[in-house]
């Protein structure tokens, strides 16, 4: 059955919702275990499908192939890590467990279907399922003004972007008369691409999805939403929906509009440079660590977009091609970003705010292992070898060079040099400053195991990059 992992996650979401309504308050922390179990089972079913021939379901609306297995792995890993990091934070702030996990499951479900969609309609519905759940996640801290603000801003602008997206889809349908992605590609291949309406479509779709991955100038919501949302939700937002939106980008721009690649390649290259440059430079000025990470996440969207700009549909696997580089980077990005946010959640758990750089003073002494993990994440985000982030960037740069956009590679190298400034600032604060404050750090086996997983992944995906790159390459063979 092609959609077994999705079915598992659906059942999980329902179960969580029901139990949240039924269980007495003091037993709800057990839901953490249920959520973990559900995601792990779904993950097992998902990995089992690797390598099996492509299938489709629901009358060709969704498919299951290596591509979906790759993204499902990413999404379920994200979900598991978020579930592990959440309890400490949620308990400290008296936020509802069941609703958090349930909404998380719905969002993950939307993400999984987004990657699996082979039709414009299912793609749009899946994206909406995902983002609506995330809007609520962002506003989960109902009594906090900032959380409300985050949720509302994200919702209003997200609705706006969705409208643009669906408008673009309708143009695509208008041009080709098809909603099935493969059939659209067939029509586009057969007709002349020299069509101004197609450019209109490209622009609308790029804006619609560009909002979801936070490209400049459609990024304005990101810092506000990331700052206000509860930290585990922020962590999830910066990784899960972003990866899903990139899956949607690939589905739309490669599966369906692959033949029009020469039309949009330069557009995405320019957006990528704009995004990373603005985000990196602005990130330097931030004093709130969540805002800094928000800008960092925008900058990484820019890096990842390089993969799409450098994509050469149909390129052989003997080359360093854009799409595998993009997917590999998403994989790497997931662990290092979730890790960084988990540490923010960890440092915050015992405090009222805990979001400024000053709260990280002397963390190297107060919590040595945590500080080492944070250092690892920051170095990896900077792109220091041999950590995972370095290889992610290296592949993207090589892919850009390969497709003849050396200037893009240079822009990316310059940007990663700029980014060193603010990432290392965290390290400097942790190790090279002192504090008299004695805020007790929260202890939770969940978050510790989560940090261990994330830092080991950040390290080993770098040191043993090869199998993971093969994973990404194997997942793109369908393109």
């Amino acid at each position: 059955m092609a959609v077994l992992p999705e079915v598992v996650v659906t059942v999980l979401a329902m179960l969580l919702l029901l139990l949240d309504a039924v269980l007495p308050e003091h037993r709800k922390s057990g839901l953490t275990w249920l959520a973990l179990l559900g995601f792990v089972v779904a993950g097992a079913f998902n990995l089992y499908q690797w390598g099996s021939p492509a299938q489709s379901a629901y009358g060709g609306m969704v498919g299951a192939d290596n591509f979906t297995v790759f993204f499902n792995t990413l999404f379920l890993a994200t979900a598991i890590l978020v579930v592990l990091m959440a309890p400490a934070y949620l308990r400290e702030r008296a936020l509802p467990f069941g609703e958090f996990y349930s909404l998380l499951s719905f969002a993950v479900l939307g993400m999984m279907f987004t990657a699996a969609s082979t039709d414009l309609i299912s793609l749009f519905v899946s994206i909406e399922l995902m983002v609506i759940a995330v809007y609520i996640l962002a506003g989960l801290a109902r009594r906090e003004k900032r959380s409300n603000e985050a949720s509302l801003k994200y919702f209003l602008l997200g609705a706006f972007a969705s409208a643009i997206l669906v408008y673009g889809m309708s143009w695509l349908y208008g041009i080709t008369g098809q909603t099935n992605l493969a059939k659209i590609a067939g029509v586009l291949k057969a007709t002349s691409l020299d069509n101004p309406l197609l450019l209109m479509t490209i622009a609308l779709l790029a804006v619609g999805v560009g909002f979801k991955v936070a490209l400049v100038p459609f990024h304005a919501w990101t810092p506000d939403a990331y700052e206000g949302a509860p930290t585990p939700a922020t962590a999830f937002m910066s990784v899960g929906p972003k990866a899903a939106a990139f899956a949607a980008l690939l589905r739309i721009f490669i599966s369906a509009m692959g033949p029009a690649q020469p039309d949009y390649s330069l557009l995405f290259a320019i957006l990528a440079v704009l995004t990373m440059t603005l985000a990196n430079v602005v990130a330097i000025q931030q004093n709130n660590i969540k805002r800094m990470l928000a800008y960092s996440s925008i900058a990484h969207s820019g890096y990842i977009l390089v993969g799409l700009a450098a994509a050469q549909p149909g390129a052989g696997s003997d080359q360093v091609a854009g799409i595998p580089a993009l997917m590999f980077y998403l994989f790497v990005y997931t662990f290092m970003t979730l890790g960084a946010f988990a540490i923010v959640a960890y440092v915050q758990a015992g405090q009222v705010t805990g979001e400024s750089f000053d709260d990280y003073r002397a963390l190297g002494r107060r919590a040595p292992m945590t500080a080492i993990a944070m250092t690892l994440f920051m170095l990896s985000l900077t792109g220091v070898p041999p950590l995972a982030g370095f290889f992610g960037k290296a592949y993207l740069i090589l892919a850009a060079v390969h497709s003849g956009m050396a200037w893009l590679a240079v822009a990316m190298a310059v940007n990663s040099a700029i980014s060193a400034y603010y990432y290392l600032r965290v390290v400097v604060v942790m190790y090279m400053s002192d504090t008299t404050e004695r805020v007790p750090l929260y202890r939770s086996p969940f978050i510790h195991s989560m940090l261990a997983v994330a830092s080991l992944a950040t390290f080993f995906v770098g040191v043993f990059a090869d199998p993971f790159l093969r994973f990404a390459q194997g997942a793109t063979l369908g393109f």
């Binding site: 329902m14 919702l17 029901l18 949240d20 309504a21 020299d194 069509n195 101004p196």
Partner: protein, 118 residues
């Protein structure tokens, strides 16, 4: 190639021109004779009280949303009922799953007190 854009250009021009022209023509032709009664929202109905952008109690929204859930259910049930013979057992199961999912949502809302009017 530039010829391809002539259509779009014309479209834009005509669109803007038409809008402008109608407004201009209306402004020229219409008699302007405003009086308080004419400016009422409902010229021959209940007199308007207060601002239309008044605040409603949030509970109305919750109820309206719950209503929407069943509205949607009906939207799906009708075509299903019409095509029941063709869809057969599989269709029945699918619809049962759909109704079950909606019921879980309804149950959740009920449990959380969405139906209590305090």
């Amino acid at each position: 190639m530039p010829t391809n854009y002539i259509g779009i250009g014309l479209f834009i021009l005509v669109g803007m021109g038409f809008t402008g022209a109608t407004f201009a023509a209306a402004a020229l032709i219409r008699p302007s004779n405003p009086n308080p009664i004419k400016l009422e929202p409902y010229e021959c109905g209940v007199p308007g009280v207060g601002d239309a952008r008044d605040r409603f109690h949030i509970r109305y929204y919750v109820l309206a949303m719950l209503y929407l859930v069943f509205d949607l259910e009906v939207v799906f049930l009708y075509p299903w009922a019409v095509q029941y013979d063709k869809l057969g057992l599989f269709g029945l199961m699918e619809m049962l799953v759909f109704v079950a999912i909606l019921l879980i949502g309804y149950f959740y809302a009920w449990k959380k007190g969405a139906l209590d009017w305090v």
